[in-house]
């Protein structure tokens, strides 16, 4: 069964917390990964591969640069989950 956007957000927040130590509640839809959450490109790659494993989606490297905000990632995962 497909996950809701809220469930994806919560799962993503756990991954971000694991990688950066940011509190999960700080990971909100309108936050920018780089500007607001201070996530660098190396951490972003780890978050992407962990999200792939967790949600069973493939996020191509070309797509990663479009995922500037948390909402972008959640939307991408929601519409591509298997």
């Amino acid at each position: 069964m497909a996950l809701s956007e809220q469930e994806i957000l919560e799962g993503l927040a756990e991954i971000v917390n694991e990688e950066t130590g940011l509190e999960p509640e700080e990971v909100q839809m309108d936050k920018s990964f780089t500007e607001d959450l201070d996530i660098d490109s190396l951490s972003m790659m780890t978050i992407v591969v962990n999200a792939e494993d967790k949600f069973g989606v493939r996020i191509p490297d070309d797509e990663v640069k479009n995922l500037t905000h948390v909402r972008d990632a959640v939307t991408y995962i929601a519409s591509n989950q298997g």
């Binding site: 694991e18 990688e19 950066t20 130590g21 951490s43 790659m45 780890t46 591969v49």
Partner: protein, 422 residues
Amino acid sequence: MSTSPSSSQPARRVVITGVGATTPVGGTAPQTWEAILAGRSGVRPLTQDWVSEHELPVTFAGQIHTPPSEVLTKVEVRRNDPAGQYALIAAREAWADAGSPEVEKERLGVAVGSGIGGVWTLLDQWEVLRTRGPRRVFPLTVPMLMPNGPAAAVSLDLGARAGAHCPVSACASGAEGMGLALQMIRTGRADVMVAGGTEAAIHPLPIAAFAAMTALSSRNDDPERASRPYDVGRDGFVIAEGAGVFVLEAEEHALARGATIYAELAGVGMSSDAYHITAGEPEGAGAARAMEEAVADAGLAVSDILHINAHATSTPVGDLAETKAIHRAFGSHTANLAVTATKSMTGHLLGAAGALEAVLTALTLRDRRVPPTINLDDPDPQIDLDVVTGAPRALPEGDVAAVNNSFGFGGVNVALTLRTYR
């Protein structure tokens, strides 16, 4: 090495104002020191699955007493190899112990050596590559496996900008870190240095490799008694892990801020055997030269030295060669040296060993108590040294100096001279 002042300007004196350690016998320097004075071993059986999985011939080690996950954040653990984690823990302890000195960041440097570097990261990520492919390889793999990763982590943590160095000289790395820091302060390139060594190589590959060269004790049925320097029954060293760190400071800098001073780091001597890639030169000529230089570099005579914290790893050949080296350097004064081998309790921390033992030597001088060597049940008659056993031995009042030896594969010899600070 010609470090003696050539001009009329006297060299700056360098003092120890902070100590930190995470070791098989304690999670901090004071906890480690208490265990060492009490003669407690930190060597235990290894209980990990990989020991039987790989049918390792050696099944014990001196593993860290306090897991880093109890001290560091989850993210710090994730982003640092265990070698970096241990260095961060010991450096933060030393820095806090020194009173977090106010110092211009451009005058604060780091010298944290490592013999092997991030072997866990290297081999874990190799496994990730083999089983899950290149995209799953952790992006921080290179900075975590590089030997200077721990020095860099400490530099980042403290904002140290006078340099972040990592001497790599096998089991002399930590001592070389201390020696480099001494030079940097003396020559005016820094006022404060965070210096030491770290190692985290209790991994099946290094264990198998050291065992393949028959360097390790195989006393699997009695781990706590396996590290027995100077004993006739010694059969190799016990692999161990951890870190030791000093905060070193130019004397005038320490005095100006009213710092508590443990001891003076007074001299360093370094030499290389050019004899064999792993075996020390059996007559101890190179090791003796390092000791003589360390004493002269401190402006002292060999007769001023009253204590030696020996390298003494518990190998049949190594302990004997060091004994010959001590006789060579100290001559008839050797009889007046209270010698101890703290690896009998901690095992051999490889690249962190010299740093930890420098920390222990500083505490020895502060408390004027030489810790005992344990497991010396049947002294080797060829080892004619006055080894402290049973209980700590008091050092006299007044100005006392000590030498700490560290030798490494590659024929590297490093000796440090420490001196009580009046």
